[in-house]
Subunit: 430 residues, 2 copies
Amino acid sequence: MTAPLKTIESSGDLTGIMQVLGRNAKVAAHTLALASSEAKNAALKGMAGAIRARKAEIIAANKEDLAEARKANLSAAMLDRLTLDEARVQAMADGIEVIGALPDPVGTVMESWVRPNGMTIERVRVPLGVIGIIYESRPNVTADAGALALKAGNAAILRGGSDSLRTSRAIHAAMAEGLRAAGLPEDAIQLVPTRDRAAVGEMLTGLNNTIDVIVPRGGKGLVARVQAEARVPVFAHLEGVCHVFIDKAADLEMARKIVLNAKMRRTGVCGAAETLLVDRAAASKQLKPLIEMLIGAGCEVRGDKTVQAADRRVKPATEEDWSTEYLDAIITAKVVDDVDAAIAHIERYGSHHTDAIVTDDSNTAEKFLREVDSAIVLHNASTQFADGGEFGFGAEIGIATGRMHARGPVGVEQLTSFKYRVRGTGQIRP
Amino acid sequence: MTAPLKTIESSGDLTGIMQVLGRNAKVAAHTLALASSEAKNAALKGMAGAIRARKAEIIAANKEDLAEARKANLSAAMLDRLTLDEARVQAMADGIEVIGALPDPVGTVMESWVRPNGMTIERVRVPLGVIGIIYESRPNVTADAGALALKAGNAAILRGGSDSLRTSRAIHAAMAEGLRAAGLPEDAIQLVPTRDRAAVGEMLTGLNNTIDVIVPRGGKGLVARVQAEARVPVFAHLEGVCHVFIDKAADLEMARKIVLNAKMRRTGVCGAAETLLVDRAAASKQLKPLIEMLIGAGCEVRGDKTVQAADRRVKPATEEDWSTEYLDAIITAKVVDDVDAAIAHIERYGSHHTDAIVTDDSNTAEKFLREVDSAIVLHNASTQFADGGEFGFGAEIGIATGRMHARGPVGVEQLTSFKYRVRGTGQIRP
């Protein structure tokens, strides 16, 4: 049982508080690892129900957070991310139910084989353990991340933004109700009960024997800090400098559709394209219409000399532009000699997140898919598909560009580890 | 091309040396990631050939290392680990050929599925990148680890024991010859060219943006240091405190066979049993014969009161004994109330490495396999099967007890990462 929040907040012993959270999480993880799918799903259903039932309470807490945030002159974008209305609370509850309906990864046999001596070996999924989630102003992460961790049998320690602490607390109370009703430990999902920013440092280094993986959810500053300081593995991407390469064998209509979608569908997502590369052999036909289309859609285009020559509204691109994640209606454009030059550009300036080629030449496509070293590579499809939901994972906790354990959209399966079960009939080793 | 060894050794700029190694490894990793299976296998074949051809040279270098080690009063065990004779050199070359004959994991499609919009998604294995291997006196690790990293398309930075530097260099020269002959970059496998012990620290922290994973191979001191200091992921186990639990429904003959093998086949391996747990309900029949058998085989038994009562030669076990990895002909033995008590004991004192149950009751066996949180759990088989070769992996770089990425025997597949290849026909995201 967690000690009352006020006591902890006023104690001032942050390291002590965090160590208690860590121990609680370890104990809860042990129970969760053996919890049945039914119990976990009942808890998730209970959480969704409790969030709906406590809607007024959650929105009231959110109004208090918002009032304070306005006083503190938070930006309009941050206020928007912080705001919960009825629809957003509803979406949060629905999201938990979607996670509940996913297949339970724990206990799944990933592989099995029989050895010449008759022993059978199974590789079976087990939970990872304790997941630390550090996020900024979006309070809905409290629900999403907590639910996803629980589904995979993990305990979660959540550190939300200090601007949204009241809201996160109200959501967390609903989640605790769901856990209690299902007979699971409340400490399965703990919220760091203090605004003290040093709590983040404690999670990154002080709890390195407790937290198995840290997932940062927020802006570049947060992710960079977590990647630089964490003594535990991190699932994250610092940025998504995503490319679309239009090969000489691309269909112009398909190229238009994909480029427009990759850049403009939503400019603020990590899978949004930031650079358009056009094959020199296709530039005479493709470049002008693509640039006109982008500018016509309200996108600023920054380009090299050739691209500037194609349309006078194109601004010059600086060296820095090629590796910039705009998250806005801005794109850089460049003419490259061929697919090799496109791959070399992506390797040099990209962020190993998501990159696409448009071409009708399957050899060129296969070369691109093989040689581009990114978490997601696409042929004739929009980079905006970089999303766990679009991959069919049901839900994701984020997208990772690291190479260890998880890469690309991190769904419930990537929040598991595995072990080997060996069944014999008395075999001994010669 | 690596700068000449002597120049580097005398420069004294260790950080600079290590940064050069890191950059070389990154460049080589890029080439290796796209190298064909044929080229990698040709390099491995060439390495094996070169090791055989340079046998005399390798053994001469080893003699120099041994002479110096004797002067430095290294223990007999360490001298044995350091020694290479014709048979050991031959075994090293054979081992590289075994790795060459394994299937190439790179490019393997792990999963593929079709989305409702018609896009196909493939999850395909790619190399991890750069693997750092830190080992002690066994110079054969130079060959084993370098070959295994290469097979999975990774670059390797090897830091061998300073006692075996001449031997490692001679082996490394043969490996470089194999790489050259196959047209692969020599920097695919680099040996840290200095005895300066600070090189280990540089690998653990200074190269954290270069090295993707560190594998320590050696004693507990080395592994503990690497685990404590590394800023990159580590594949390792600190110790193997492995248990055999004899359930009340165990067959006595099978129990005898398995306990004897698990403890005494080789006492110095990490999968050797260190504790015997006997179900109270079976103790009257099983305990005495098992203890007598162990003592008869030359094993010291340390036990609780009940075990001491069963045989007067049993010594009392201290609290510390229960969590000690003897790596010797010593075992602790305890009578426990039931399978739950056995599982609780293993959780409390074990090292999450390898644990076994002997029973004819399949329900009890399944409970044990499910609830014991170890990398490897076995039913009716010896703990000494904890080995990549015995699992059918062909070769292993070690056994991991961590939960991230790799767990249990780390074979060539665990030295890979993956990416997603998406193939569309013009799909855009709604």
